[in-house]
């Protein structure tokens, strides 16, 4: 293969040099392949955990809805979360406030002021936020579900995907592509908030431009433009932290504004733009007619949840396993056939030592409307034909090229642009070029994980892609460094998962380890981990990074819990309870946020007790009442009958020795 072909190279190059070159090339390519596989499985890990989290969210959403709707009424706390009439006019902004001041109707001065203020890390005063949201609400009310645009009025339309609170990416887009204006129209395709730390700033900027250029700025709703997702994924927390006085009101108004965002945009009757995708049931005419404002995306799950989660609890101590696992295993049921709700269709919910009966009111039409919107906001494309429930996410569908073809053909369209999935290059084409995924949050999973991108369409509707990547450091990282950073982050997340399921895993490991040697085979280890965690990952490939091998080639299974230890242990708590709380700590945080209306960080022991009972019965998890009481009392250090919730959470914070080491190695 290397004999006598290239004489145009260095003269009289000895054969030895050629052999040396081949050797180096061979070695290096293998090195790069190893990096590539690490990068791939790192991606798989992030994505699996992300989607599993979203799935959990959907499973629990009915519970949160129930809490939100019923909690205050039932314990007589009054209309704490009722909508108050927005009296932003009466809010006085102190002279000491040095942030931006807006004047309505907005002008270019206002948007420029906002942009420079946010670059300087300033916060917009609550009064202006409320006013902005109020105006946006008024504006969106008159918009239809589906917006029809024409490309001929301007040169090119720019379409951006998920931003997820990454202000740096938005500013980079504006820097590269120019600000929105009559000559520079934009469409933002949903998921503006959650996960990133600057979600409210992004919302403010997008809404400001929306009001300023109503004909040239368009926003589609994403699955994260929803108050229950926001509770879990950080937007609610961000708002409450930045707006201590007006946070609740802002969130209340945002909830309404989100539900008013349009669902789809269509350009020249040829290009359909939605956040998630489509299903074989997607009907654009029906979608246009739905009263989007009234459809509550995650509330409708109440209907299905009643059949799949029982309130009976399992009694054996070792089964502190997630009964959610059984919910997840069953595929999402198709909507039941239309029938009149009978009086027997009541949801029985234990609460405060009595049973609350809730009628299941959803008539078929509402269910169909809900499904139309969920499909459009949650679906993902797949490469095989057909349409199947999206079990990965827990909502929407996987739609194949045939589904795309059929829908586009039906409406005489040629292209579907969607977002919703992170892509390494910021964009991806599929379905023979009929579907574009566009994702605008670079470094989404971790520094260096992916680029962001936006797409431009001119009147001939040929897409042009632009990529970018926000970088924290000026020094360019090598491929190896980028992969290592992302990989250790992903592995850390996986190790946390392992730790959170420790008892269950140990019990299963020990079933294989009859002689109590502390070792089992790699296959056995992989089988256990896969069935307990229910994450579809290449466990055998990951094994070297997660657990130690003994000298006989078997796995020392306890070593997978080694690098993690919980923080301050709570006294008098059984391991099972601690672990359960650790596993559900995000959900607990959400629930406490709901209870702790004034965000004082304190809740009463009684509230804690009752809520825990409700939560655990919803999950079907059996935890001893006495243990709860003991724990609650032990958390109440000053014995005044109230719990400092933040201290409580601290007890379950995980300490990573691994983290310190990484930082030291730089």
């Amino acid at each position: 293969s290397v004999t006598g072909t290239t004489l145009w190279v260095i003269e009289q190059m000895p054969v030895l040099s050629i052999k040396a070159a081949v050797l180096i090339q061979r070695w290096y390519r293998r090195y790069v392949a190893r990096l590539e596989i690490r990068r791939r499985y790192t991606w798989n890990i992030f994505q699996s955990i992300e989607y599993a989290g979203e799935q959990d969210q959907l499973q629990l959403s009915s519970f949160f809805s129930f809490m939100l709707d019923n909690f205050t009424q039932l314990n007589g706390n009054g209309p704490g979360i009722e909508v108050r009439q927005c009296k932003y006019e009466q809010i006085v902004v102190p002279d000491s406030y040095s942030g931006p001041r807006l004047s309505f109707p907005l002008s270019v001065t206002d948007t420029n002021t906002l942009l420079s203020a946010f670059k300087e890390q300033q916060t917009l005063h609550g009064k202006y936020v409320l006013q902005l949201l109020h105006e946006t609400q008024k504006f969106l009310k008159q918009m239809p579900n589906v917006i029809y645009l024409s490309s001929s009025y301007a040169k090119e339309i720019t379409i951006c995907g998920d931003l997820h609170g990454r202000l740096d990416d938005l500013l980079l887009i504006f820097y590269k592509n120019g600000l929105p204006s009559a000559e520079n129209p934009y469409i933002f395709n949903g998921d503006f908030v959650d996960r990133g730390k600057k979600s409210i700033e992004i919302i403010i900027i997008l809404f400001a431009f929306l009001l300023l250029y109503p004909d040239h700025m368009h926003l589609n709703r994403g699955n994260h433009e929803d108050h229950i997702m926001n509770l879990r994924y950080g937007f609610t927390k961000e708002v409450m932290q930045k707006y201590k006085t007006h946070g609740r009101e802002i969130l209340q108004l945002l909830q309404d504004v989100f539900s008013l965002l349009p669902i789809a945009t269509i350009i020249d009757n040829k290009v359909l733009i939605v956040h998630g995708g489509i299903s074989d049931k997607t009907d654009l005419y029906f979608l246009s007619s739905v009263e989007r404002h009234r459809v509550s995306l995650l509330k409708c799950r109440l209907t299905k949840q009643s059949s799949s989660s029982s309130s009976s609890s399992s009694s054996s101590a070792s089964s502190v396993c997630s009964p959610r696992a059984s919910c997840r295993a069953t595929p999402r049921h198709p909507p039941p056939s239309p029938r009149l709700p009978s009086p027997v269709d009541m949801l029985q919910v234990p609460f405060l030592d009595s049973i609350v009966s809730l009628a299941l009111p959803e008539p078929p039409k509402e269910e169909l409307e809900w499904r139309q919107i969920v499909d459009v906001l949650w679906s993902d494309p797949k490469n095989q034909n057909g349409c199947s429930p999206n079990s990965f996410r827990g909502g929407g569908c996987y739609f194949g090229p045939d589904v795309t073809q059929r829908l586009l053909k039906k409406h005489g369209m040629c292209l579907l642009i969607r977002s919703h999935e992170c892509k390494q290059e910021g964009y991806e084409l599929c379905h023979n070029g009929q579907v574009i995924t566009i994702f605008s949050a670079s470094n989404y999973y971790e520094e260096g994980s992916n680029r962001g991108a936006y797409v431009k369409l001119g009147p001939e509707l040929i897409p042009r892609f632009f990529q970018y990547q926000v970088s924290r450091s000026t020094r360019k990282l090598t491929l190896q460094q980028r992969v290592s950073v992302a990989e250790s982050s992903a592995l850390k997340a996986l190790q946390e998962k392992l730790f959170a399921h420790r008892s269950e895993l140990m019990a299963a490991f020990q079933q294989y380890d009859i002689n109590n040697t502390g070792r089992i085979s790699t296959n056995e280890w992989a089988q256990v981990v896969e069935s307990v965690l229910r994450l579809d990952l290449p466990w055998r490939t990951l094994r070297p990074r997660l657990v130690r091998l003994a000298s006989d080639g078997n796995v020392e299974y306890e070593s997978c819990f080694e690098n993690i230890s919980a923080g301050q242990p709570i006294p008098q708590v059984t391991p099972n309870l601690a672990e359960t709380m650790y596993r559900y700590r995000t959900d607990l945080e959400i629930i406490f946020n709901i209870i702790d209306k004034d965000h004082s960080g304190q809740i009463s022991i009684e509230e804690f007790r009752q809520t825990w009972k409700l939560f655990s019965s919803h999950l079907g998890v059996d935890v001893d009442d006495q243990a709860i009481d003991d724990m609650a009392r032990s958390i109440d250090f000053n014995k005044d009958g109230s719990i400092d919730f933040n201290e409580f959470l601290e007890a379950f914070r995980v300490v990573h020795k691994l983290d310190m080491k990484e930082q030291q190695q730089g």
Partner: protein, 176 residues
């Protein structure tokens, strides 16, 4: 009788051998399957043919590009579809691993290779000369491959490649 005993011993030995090799092969199959799965995006037991090189290398093999092409030719469909099916990949890959084909490049041999290129025996190479060798000789690197190697290999202060350090850094951190 002794013949019967011999027969029993032989039978037992064969069973043991069968179990062991079955266990070995089964373990091997699972390893191969695991690596394959990383790239099986549709979960339909196929991968893009362009990923085969990465998969084979990630299983510990060091094939040359030419050797890789031969393997692909062996496992491709009669009418190439751009995808490789697991059923065809598995037996070929098993054989490759059992035969220890495409053995690793040991660190000292790698060092010798660099020393060969370093004709003046200075202990380092210029980026330009390494680029010349690797993009024009052997199985040439693409520009992207070359740039990536340089970003990791070149000492930014001196703009030279101290290949001894480079090799020892790159061969550390290999849990496989």
């Amino acid at each position: 009788s002794t013949r019967y005993d011999l027969y029993r011993v032989l039978h037992a030995a064969l069973c043991l051998f069968a179990i062991c090799s079955e266990a070995i092969v089964s373990e091997l199959h699972k390893r191969i399957s695991s690596a394959f799965d990383v790239f099986d995006h549709e979960s339909n037991h196929t991968v893009d043919v362009r990923e085969i090189g990465t998969i084979i290398r990630s299983l510990g093999c060091f094939p040359t590009e030419a050797q890789l092409h031969d393997v692909i030719a062996e496992i491709e469909e009669e009418e190439p579809t751009g995808f490789i099916r697991f059923e065809r990949f598995l037996p070929t890959m098993s054989r490759i691993l059992l035969e220890h084909r495409f053995r690793p490049v040991p660190e000292d041999l790698l060092l010798q290779a660099f020393e060969v290129l370093d004709q003046q025996k200075r202990g380092h190479l210029d980026p330009e000369e390494l680029t010349r060798y690797l993009t024009q000789e052997g199985e040439p690197f693409t520009q992207e491959e070359m740039e990536e190697m340089l970003s990791a290999a070149v000492d930014p202060d001196k703009n030279l490649i101290f290949y001894k350090d480079f090799v020892s850094v790159m061969t550390v951190d290999d849990p496989w």
